[in-house]
Symmetry: C2
Subunit: 208 residues, 2 copies
């Protein structure tokens, strides 16, 4: 069986994968700036649901690309999402990836205040200088608190990538953003994840 | 809208999520040792396909649990999967997580030999002392090369978690293991990912 597998170079694999995704999407069309994001989500999950469940606010991608070119930082809610973002390519524009979840003093502060670490992390992220993109792939509490911070004028991200995954408060946390004036890319429904958050960040970075 | 969301404690979220998954699985039953793994894959992806696509070789979980209790190491093919594994809990048994992908000398060796970094990483992983579990969530080339190493007697993992995701050589790489005598947990088809690899590792660690 082994000799039936044709080994393909890593650079070719991505090209061939994208061609297969394009073919299977058939007649589906997407706005040109959104298409690479939809495809990269499918590429990272092999789940074609992402052709239907991604919601982009008006000019969300355009604004994000401009911010990345101007050295925007990315704040994630998990170490896993931060690991998946292409930090080398982001750094070429001057941007950095931040995840505060495993900082010791974050755990301490959350305990003292009786809130989740995600809440503390969103607050730290909102204090970063310059343009910031939040990429939330895990914690609906992070997304909910980020919404509160924005409403209170305490956070002003250029984009919120809201793709937590799961069964409790996930749909509700996403619905806060859909239709709002906050620039967003949201995966409707239960699906998402740290891998999807990282894939959307990378699709933006590769386009910038 | 915000005041309609009932904030749930993180510890409760997982419990409630698992209850929803159990309910939606309805009459589906799984072998007791495999059930937590299936459910954690659904939990991490909100994708019920994992109720159908996970393949376990005979006693795969039993052997893996014993190995973890004896301090087994876990080798992943991505930094992202390594990030997702509960290293603190694994360390309580004496085990460590290894990912060689971003080691500088791995890139150098791969370039010199004209192979992928994944190939070099599998070779390094196979040289680790003591019981080793490989968790491959990304690179089919890693899974294929691991199969070759095992066939050549150069690797002897206690378990291969084979859940690369994608469209090129992914299904073929998984089919090498299904039905083989190598102890395995495989996600049939195109689906999988670093998040799924980490989820399976954690489901094993929490059961051990």
């Amino acid at each position: 069986m082994l000799d039936q597998i044709k080994i393909v170079k890593p650079t070719e694999i991505e090209k061939n994968s994208m061609a297969i995704i394009t073919k299977e999407l058939g007649d589906r069309t997407f706005p040109p700036l959104e298409e690479p994001i939809v495809k990269r989500c499918i590429h990272t999950s092999a789940d074609f649901d992402y052709a239907d469940n991604l919601v982009f606010s008006e000019s969300a991608v355009e604004k994000a690309l401009e911010a990345i070119r101007n050295g925007a930082s990315i704040v994630t809610d998990t170490r896993m999402a931060a690991s998946g973002v292409n930090k080398r390519r982001l750094a070429e524009f001057g941007g950095q990836v931040h995840c505060f979840m495993d900082h010791e003093d974050v755990a301490k502060e959350a305990k003292e205040r009786g809130c989740t670490r995600a809440v503390v992390c969103m607050e730290r992220g909102s204090k970063i200088e310059g343009p910031v993109i939040f990429a939330i792939g895990n914690a609906p509490t992070a997304l909910i608190h980020l919404y509160e911070l924005i409403r209170e004028g305490k956070a002003d991200p250029v984009l919120v990538i809201g793709v937590p995954v799961g069964f409790v408060n996930v749909i509700e946390s996403k619905e806060l953003f859909i239709g709002s004036e906050i620039s967003h890319i949201i995966a409707k429904g239960r699906k998402g994840g740290s891998n999807i958050a990282a894939a959307i960040c990378n699709a933006l970075i590769y386009q910038a």
